[in-house]
Every structure is written in structure tokens, then in C-alpha cells.
């Protein structure tokens, strides 16, 4: 092995580093390292002349590796690695020693700062000594995508991807796509009809040659990694052939079973065989296996008897379909925070206390009351309605700490729609703050507030209960400092948005992270807001955080464009900094196999083998191996050992 020739480039960063670190001393100390053949200081190493001098020095001094002691590698690691490559050496033989963020900016004492900078630099020099040159790994790409969740986010993402000519599979858990948006009546701030906007998109999904729609289906298992996922989808049986079903409705007329209608949030009932909405896509009835008397023609079989189209097939079986895709968009949406968690607001047990979505169904022309506002208990028109914002939101002590973002807007919309339907009614809105950032939003809220019959009360509701056929609401108006008591005909809670049920499971299946509130975690809050931490998996809609429709559509489009960009490449390059087995040391105990979060290691002939396409280079294997038989390339135990030594020298 020929002798290492490392160059060390010490950046002053103007005075950012030089003010608290004696840069000349750092350079001197590094020159004393056996492997260091060249050192240089410069006022701004990342400037054009700085970068040129690095390239020149590598060439002139026949350096085989470099260390740049400067700012965080997050900023300029790529810059200097590119320079290394430009100078003809491997980019992985360039490392950054962070002596700015981790040193000069946080220490005032120059002597101590210099000492620490030397330790940091020396440890990186020692590390670089054992860095292996390597090339990025090329992986072929499966040019198909999957979108999980058929709400507006999933629909938009699927259409955008499909319109780019990429085949996309849209997987929806429910019997129809459309999601939450399909349940809404009108949308703020324009008050246009939600279903009218959405239906054409749903139909487009159905008809698009590049979209494969799988409703009543759930993702069961995901393996592989970016560019090459293999997804197992479980498709439940609907017992109705959508191609034959004429949606004539004869079956529901004879079905003897009545169950609450989950699509109407329990406000109405449906039969065991049903269609969620008139606009459902696929436009077909679904037989609810759990409610049906038993799929047994001897016991019932009435629906099959009346079905002239012969669409009903009691022998239809669930299927598991395996799909290979290169990228996945997760758009699993939201649920409302359970009112049972809030005894102070009735705990979900007080009659005529609805949640926002129920209210949407109540005012929807397609809803149970055909758009007439009638309260559930006695089907009378409510004359006094209390809207309660932040029900479960912004309450770190008891409920959700975060702001659900859309409640201010939709409550204003609710109040407006209420007044439209019940002109002589009176609406009260309890709020903490009004947050109405968005195009036309503030104006919308202001218009609502200006209505004399809509009273905005700043404060929280302390309790509510049923009294004399009404709901008594106790609250405080913090602006006047007075307690308020309202006997309302109806109360509408703007419940917090939570990740939809099953988000935890899907996150686990996909091996993507969640944030502290359970929403899917983006890779970077600012710079990578639509990417999950796992390569090739993208996020859209309220599954990632509470958001409104325009934002959701925008994020879905962004996710789709990420997918399109990814799948437009013939091959992907992956970081080569992955695990490597030393077979001579491996005893095949399998502890690394067990520890690997990515199922990237298997045993073959008594030795561990790393699947390069799956390994993410986390090093869990290396720390678990008792024999140092597996290491992450360029972060080997040997390198860490020498870095520890350098830190303590």
C-alpha cells in the first residue's frame, strides 16, 4: 500500500472561524500528521478561487484524499466532493471537519476553541486515511407508481403521474374513491360545491388508461426500496361485479338488513348492500360482508334474486395482488379527533352535538336531509347553533398540541351556510384566535363576522350538557371577561384533525417515520416537505399534517412531480456508504439480520450477505455484531476507533 497523501484545507470563513480558532495552528497541527502531505488556509474556501485552489493543490501535490475544515458538511460536503472529483480523485475520499457550527460559533475562548478544532480536524484526518474510494451504486427503476389513498390528494397525485405517461395504481380502502372531500358540501372561500369539483376528477381516474384503480383494498406488505418496491395489496371482496352492476338500486329495496351509514357519519342508515354515494367510483354496489345475513342463498339471497344484471356473486373471494412499483405516494388522509376524549364537550354522548363532518353531511344537498338543516334529535330546524373551534386542538395539556389549521375557515363557512339555510337563525362561534392565512380567507372570515346574527365569542367552552331539550353551553368570553351561557338547539364541534386510523400501521408497513403527533414525517420540514425519510416514498395531503384542499392538491402535485422525476431516470444512484461484511470474521450468527431495520441482510452458506439495494447504511448491524465482521463503508469500526483516539490525544 503506497503512503497516503492527504491534503488539509483550513477555511477561515472570513472571521466566522478565524475569530475564535487559530486557523494557522490548526493547519500546523494537521501538517504534523503522518499522512498529511499538504495544508493550506484560505479566507473563504468555498469561494470560486478557494475551490480552484483546492483542485489545483490536489493536482500539484498528487493528493489522494482531502479534508476541508470548515462549516457543517450539510452545507459544503457536496461542493468539495465535486471539486475532489474534478481534480481527478474519488469524491468519497473527501471529508469535512465541521469547525464552524460545532466549534467557532459556539465557543468564545480562542485557546479552547482552537484545541477543539484541532481534535475535530485530526479525527477527520484519521478517518479519511481509511476511506475507500467508491462509486455510487446504480439501480434499475420500475417505471410504475402506487398511490395509497383515494381522497383528493391521492386522486390528484395519481392523475398527475398518469398524465406524465406513467402507469399508476391507486389503492383505496373504502368502496369508493373521493375520501373526505366527497363528504363536504361547499368549500371555502368560494363556496363552490365540493362534489361538483371532485366528481369529474373521480371519473377521470376511472377512465384514465394509465390508472389502475383498486378500491376496497389495503396495502399489506412492502418490500424493496426506492426504484423497486414490491407491494402486496389485499383486495376485499365486494360480491358485486362493478362491470355488470347497473346501479338500479333494486337490491337495496329488498335487503332486510339495516346498519348505520358510515359514509353519512351515522346520521342515516344503509342496507347491507349499498352504494356509498350516488357519485361513487367505481359506480357499483358493494355487499357488506359483515352486515349481510350470510352470503347464503338459503338464508337470504334476496338481492341476488332481484339483480337483473346478474352482478351479484356470493362466491367472490378476496384477492392478494402483488404489484411492482418504483415509487409510492402515501395520501391516507385524516380522521377527526374522537369526541369521546373530550368529556367537557359531551364526550360524544350528548344529542345534537355534531362534529364538522356531520354538519357537512347535514347541509349537503346529497346528504340525509337533502340539504335541510334539521337537528338529529327531533328533526326540527335549529334556531340557535353554537360552533366550537379548537375542539381538541391547541391543547397540549389534554388533547392535541397542534393547530388543525382548517377549522377557523370551515367554521366560518358553516356559520355562513347555516345562515343561508336558516335565515332567522343565530350562530355563535367560540374561538381562541382566528387564523385565516390564505388567498381570500381573511376576507371570507371577515364577511362572516360582520353578519349581525353570527356572534364570535373569544374563549373556550368549559362544559356542555343536555337541558330541557336543548344543549346548554357554558363558556367564557375573554374579551368581556364574562361567563356566557347559551341554550343551543345544536352544537357543532370543529374537532381536531388526526392522522387517519391505520396511519401507524401503514407507516410501519412502509417503514416511514411519523412525527410526535402521529402524522407521517417529512424528510426535512423545509427543504423536503413531500418526501418521507425513506427514499422513493412521498407524502401528500392531511396524512402529513392538517391542511386544506388547495394545499393538499399542491402537495399532491409536488409529490407526483417527485415521482415523475424519479421514474424518468433509467437507473438510480444510491449512496455506496452501505454495510460490508468481512466474511473471514462472520460466523453467521444472524444478529445483524435481526437488527437490520431494512431487511437488507440475509444468511447464505453461514455468512451474512448485504443486499446493496436495500441497505441504507445505518450501521445497526455493525454495532450489534460481536466480531466487527460487518461495517458501514467509510464509517468502519477501525475508523471510529482512530477517531476516538484522535479526540483524546
Amino acid at each position: 500500500m503506497s503512503k497516503k497523501r492527504t491534503g488539509v484545507f483550513v477555511c477561515h470563513c472570513g472571521t466566522n472561524i478565524a475569530a475564535t480558532v487559530d486557523v494557522a495552528k490548526v493547519a500546523r497541527e494537521m501538517a504534523a500528521e503522518n499522512t498529511v502531505a499538504f495544508t493550506q488556509e484560505y479566507v473563504y474556501m468555498c469561494s470560486e478561487p478557494g475551490q480552484e485552489s483546492v483542485v489545483q493543490a490536489i493536482k500539484d501535490n498528487k493528493l489522494d484524499s482531502i479534508v476541508v475544515t470548515c462549516c457543517s458538511p450539510n452545507l459544503h460536503e457536496k461542493t468539495f466532493r465535486d471539486n475532489a472529483q474534478r481534480a481527478g480523485i474519488n469524491n468519497f475520499t473527501c471529508e469535512i471537519a465541521n469547525i464552524r457550527e460545532q466549534c467557532s460559533w459556539v465557543h468564545a475562548d480562542k485557546a479552547k476553541g482552537t484545541e477543539k478544532a484541532i481534535k475535530i480536524s485530526r479525527s477527520v484526518v484519521r478517518r479519511v486515511n481509511r476511506n475507500q474510494p467508491m462509486d455510487a451504486i446504480a439501480v434499475s427503476v420500475t417505471r410504475r407508481a402506487m398511490v395509497i389513498g383515494g381522497g383528493i390528494a391521492g386522486i390528484q397525485a395519481a392523475l398527475d403521474i398518469a398524465n406524465a405517461g406513467i402507469e399508476v395504481i391507486l389503492v383505496e380502502k373504502q368502496a369508493t374513491i373521493g375520501g373526505r372531500m366527497l363528504q363536504l358540501s361547499e368549500t371555502f372561500p368560494t363556496l363552490d360545491c365540493s362534489q361538483c369539483v371532485l366528481s369529474p376528477k373521480m371519473v377521470e381516474v376511472k377512465r384514465h388508461p394509465k390508472v389502475k384503480l383498486m378500491t376496497y383494498s389495503e396495502v399489506q406488505e412492502v418490500s424493496g426500496s426506492v426504484g423497486n418496491f414490491r407491494v402486496k395489496v389485499h383486495k376485499r371482496s365486494t360480491f358485486v361485479d362493478p362491470d355488470k352492476c347497473k346501479i338500479c338500486d333494486h337490491c337495496t329495496e329488498v335487503c332486510p338488513v339495516v346498519v348505520p351509514n358510515e359514509y353519512e357519519l351515522g346520521l342515516t342508515a344503509r342496507r347491507a348492500i349499498y352504494i356509498p354515494y350516488a357519485q361513487a367510483i367505481p359506480a357499483s354496489f358493494t355487499l357488506d360482508e359483515d352486515a349481510c345475513l350470510g352470503l347464503n342463498p338459503i338464508r337470504c339471497g334476496k338481492c341476488k334474486d332481484v339483480c337483473e344484471a346478474g352482478a351479484i356473486d356470493y362466491d367472490m373471494r378476496p384477492q392478494t395482488v402483488t404489484e411492482d412499483v418504483g415509487a409510492i405516494v402515501v395520501a391516507t388522509g385524516f380522521d377527526l379527533y374522537g369526541p369521546e376524549n373530550m368529556p367537557e364537550l359531551g364526550g360524544g354522548r350528548v344529542e345534537d352535538v355534531l362534529d364538522g363532518l356531520q354538519f357537512e353531511r347535514l347541509i349537503s344537498a346529497s346528504g340525509a336531509t337533502k340539504g335541510h338543516i334539521l337537528r338529529p334529535s327531533d328533526h326540527k330546524e335549529p334556531k340557535e347553533v353554537v360552533f366550537i373551534q379548537c375542539a381538541g386542538s391547541r391543547d397540549p395539556a389534554k388533547h392535541c398540541a397542534y393547530c388543525s389549521k382548517i377549522c377557523c375557515m370551515y367554521t366560518a363557512k358553516h356559520a355562513r351556510l347555516y345562515k343561508k339555510h336558516v335565515p332567522d337563525g343565530r350562530a355563535y362561534v367560540f374561538y381562541i384566535d382566528i387564523r385565516s392565512g390564505g388567498k381570500g380567507y381573511e376576507e371570507f372570515v371577515q364577511r362572516t363576522m360582520e353578519d349581525d346574527d353570527t356572534l364570535y365569542l373569544r374563549g373556550r367552552v368549559s362544559k356542555l350538557y343536555r337541558k330541557d331539550g336543548k344543549v346548554r353551553v357554558h363558556g367564557t368570553d375573554t374579551l368581556t371577561g364574562q361567563n356566557v351561557e347559551i341554550d343551543a338547539d345544536m352544537v357543532v364541534l370543529a374537532l381536531a384533525m388526526t392522522p387517519s386510523k391505520g396511519t401507524a400501521e401503514i407507516a410501519k408497513t412502509l417503514k416511514i417515520g411519523r412525527d410526535k403527533d402521529g402524522f407521517l414525517a417529512e424528510a426535512h420540514p423545509k427543504l423536503r416537505p413531500v418526501e418521507s425519510v425513506t427514499g422513493g416514498i412521498y407524502l401528500a395531503g392531511a396524512a402529513q399534517a392538517p391542511k386544506d384542499i388547495p394545499e393538499t392538491v399542491a402537495q399532491a402535485g409536488a409529490a407526483a412531480s417527485k415521482v415523475i422525476a424519479l421514474l424518468s431516470q433509467a437507473t438510480l444512484s444510491r449512496s455506496p456508504l452501505i454495510a460490508k461484511v468481512r466474511p473471514s470474521h462472520c460466523t453467521g450468527c444472524g444478529m445483524c439480520v435481526e437488527a437490520c431495520p431494512f431487511f437488507a441482510i440475509r444468511l447464505e452458506n453461514g455468512k451474512a450477505i448485504v443486499n446493496e439495494a436495500l441497505c441504507e447504511g445505518c450501521g445497526s448491524c455493525s454495532a450489534t455484531c460481536l466480531r466487527a465482521a460487518i461495517d458501514v463503508k467509510n464509517v468502519t469500526q477501525m475508523q471510529i476507533h482512530e477517531m476516538i483516539e484522535a479526540c483524546l490525544a
Binding site: K116, K516, C618, S620, C647
Partner: protein, 144 residues
């Protein structure tokens, strides 16, 4: 005691690349001052930290060893910090068992957004180590 004030503990801080190292960057960007005693070694994940590193750092003369990574649930590699939590618990208990002062080993979760917490963790740790004085239990004698 003036002697104790002069004493500067030597700390090796193993930081995961995604959270705590980024958190320390944020402390830097925010110019939050903290003692210069801890030299960071950035690793991909706390899950990559072998207990051997901890022992080795003490053996090579560290007065304290810090392991810092992503909060549970935030691991870039999903499970690395869970694995680390168990391993580090065991090594911590073992150190404690042979009579090494509890405060010589510390583990913390510092996210990329917790620059101030990072500075606080280092400040507290160095403060505690200053109380303890030099670590000579596992330290290799230079001349014997």
C-alpha cells in the same frame, strides 16, 4: 477549589448525523455558547454505536462519553435509536455496576430543531463532570 476549576473534562460526543449533529449545527447557527470540552464524532445513527466505542473512549482517557441521537420515533433509519436505547442502557448499567460514576456516561435525544437543548446537554454534562474530576478507572496508564 481552584484545582477543580482548572480541570477541563475531556468528552467524546457521539452524535447521530440526522438529528443531534444537525441539532449541534443549529446551536452553532444560533450562536448558543457552550463549553468546548466535547469533541463530536458524527455517526450515521445511534444504532451504529457499539458499546465498545464507549468503553474504548473511557479506556483512551475520556472523562465523559455522550451519546446523542434522534427522539424515539424520529430515527432516520426507523429503529436505530430503539436498538441504541437498549445497548446503551446495558453499558450504562455495567459501568455503574463496577462503580464508575453515573454521570460519566450520558445519553440524550436532541432533534435537528433542538439547538438550545444540545447546548444545554453539553453544558450540564461538562458541569457534572467538573464535579467528578478526572476519570482514571478505565483510563490506560501511560507509563507503568
Amino acid at each position: 477549589m481552584s484545582e477543580q476549576q482548572d480541570y477541563e473534562p475531556r468528552v467524546v460526543a457521539f452524535l447521530c448525523k440526522w438529528c443531534s449533529s444537525a441539532g449541534s449545527d443549529l446551536a452553532g447557527v444560533s450562536r448558543i455558547q457552550y463549553p468546548a470540552n466535547a469533541t463530536p464524532i458524527t455517526v450515521p445513527c445511534t444504532g451504529a454505536i457499539s458499546p465498545m466505542y464507549i468503553l474504548s473512549a473511557f479506556n483512551k482517557g475520556a472523562d465523559g462519553v455522550l451519546v446523542s441521537g434522534c427522539h424515539i420515533g424520529d430515527c432516520h433509519y426507523l429503529e436505530g435509536n430503539y436498538l441504541a436505547r437498549r445497548k446503551m442502557y446495558l453499558i450504562m448499567k455495567l459501568l455503574e455496576f463496577i462503580g464508575v460514576e453515573q454521570n460519566r456516561f450520558r445519553m440524550s435525544w436532541v432533534s435537528a430543531a433542538e439547538g438550545a437543548k444540545f447546548a444545554q446537554v453539553i453544558t450540564d454534562f461538562v458541569g457534572d463532570l467538573q464535579q467528578l474530576g478526572p476519570q482514571d478507572k478505565l483510563k490506560r496508564a501511560e507509563n507503568k
